[in-house]
Symmetry: C2
Subunit: 159 residues, 2 copies
Amino acid sequence: MLYVVLYNYIYERQPVPHRDDSVETIQQEMTAFARRARATAARMHPELSLVSYTLLAHLDDQRGCRATDLAAHYFLDKSTVSRQIAALEKLGFVERRVDPDDHRVQVLHPTEKGAQVLANVTASRRQAFHERLADWDEADLDRFATYLRRYNAAQERLG
Amino acid sequence: MLYVVLYNYIYERQPVPHRDDSVETIQQEMTAFARRARATAARMHPELSLVSYTLLAHLDDQRGCRATDLAAHYFLDKSTVSRQIAALEKLGFVERRVDPDDHRVQVLHPTEKGAQVLANVTASRRQAFHERLADWDEADLDRFATYLRRYNAAQERLG
DNA sequence: AGCATGAGTTGTATTTGCCAACCATTGCCG
DNA sequence: CGGCAATGGTTGGCAAATACAACTCATGCT
């Protein structure tokens, strides 16, 4: 045991929460966050569910993509995506353009109206996030964002 | 403006994303994470859904609590909690002890069996997290954990 | 005693998601 | 060329999770 303490002292140079504790915390906090996200989203934007919002946002920032891509990106079943897109289309938020090169694929795009609604929701979401993050300094925000991206990328790689 | 650039150059030594970009990233990554968490959890542990797991874990580490507390803590409707607990009880994972002081409340506890299952799931979740975080150094883990806790605490305060 | 409050349950409807079966298009290989 | 596997997408059927509302029962205050 003494060796561990010494090791930490020499190589870490401060009392360091053990690796396991950090992992434990990350696990718990990520889980708690996941549990709440949907509820929060639903309360904030009854007009556009979290999933719809996410898909629409993805279309917007990819400048159009295929249903299959959406499914892969968000680990959703293709049937789920199909229905979600159908719903968004009925609302007039997305349109389909059949790919001239391959008539199986339809490239999805937000409509003008869709982009509008998306912009509204995004703005209000962003404001909520800003409030939540108001007392963070710039460097912390940046680091936090970087960690999240890194974490999600790892999850994407490992499944 | 020059000062900003210089400041960044000197203190950060690389082009720094604007505050808004960080917030945007955090928002997107948290959302993506939330979207995937349930699916991942379901794939890993068919025997215990993310919600059940979360509730059971909370009972375990609070050494028992009331259904209402669970609902408040996870932004769930009390009916939802009621049914989830009923399911967990039917599986023999939790037991109810009526509070002798107030016959309205039932204090929930994991059973022996429940604690056992919880331990298994926790262990395997923890391993998955460890894999995902394997190439992170200790300091980054610690900082990431701290950010997450801070973020969630803020969300808890602000709704 | 009487009524408001709080804890939980149950009925009902909606949303979300999965799986499997299916259709249409494409591209490849014999 | 002709069949066949692979790909993109839709649809039907189903189960789980959840919200909302109406209800019951115990408590506690006036």
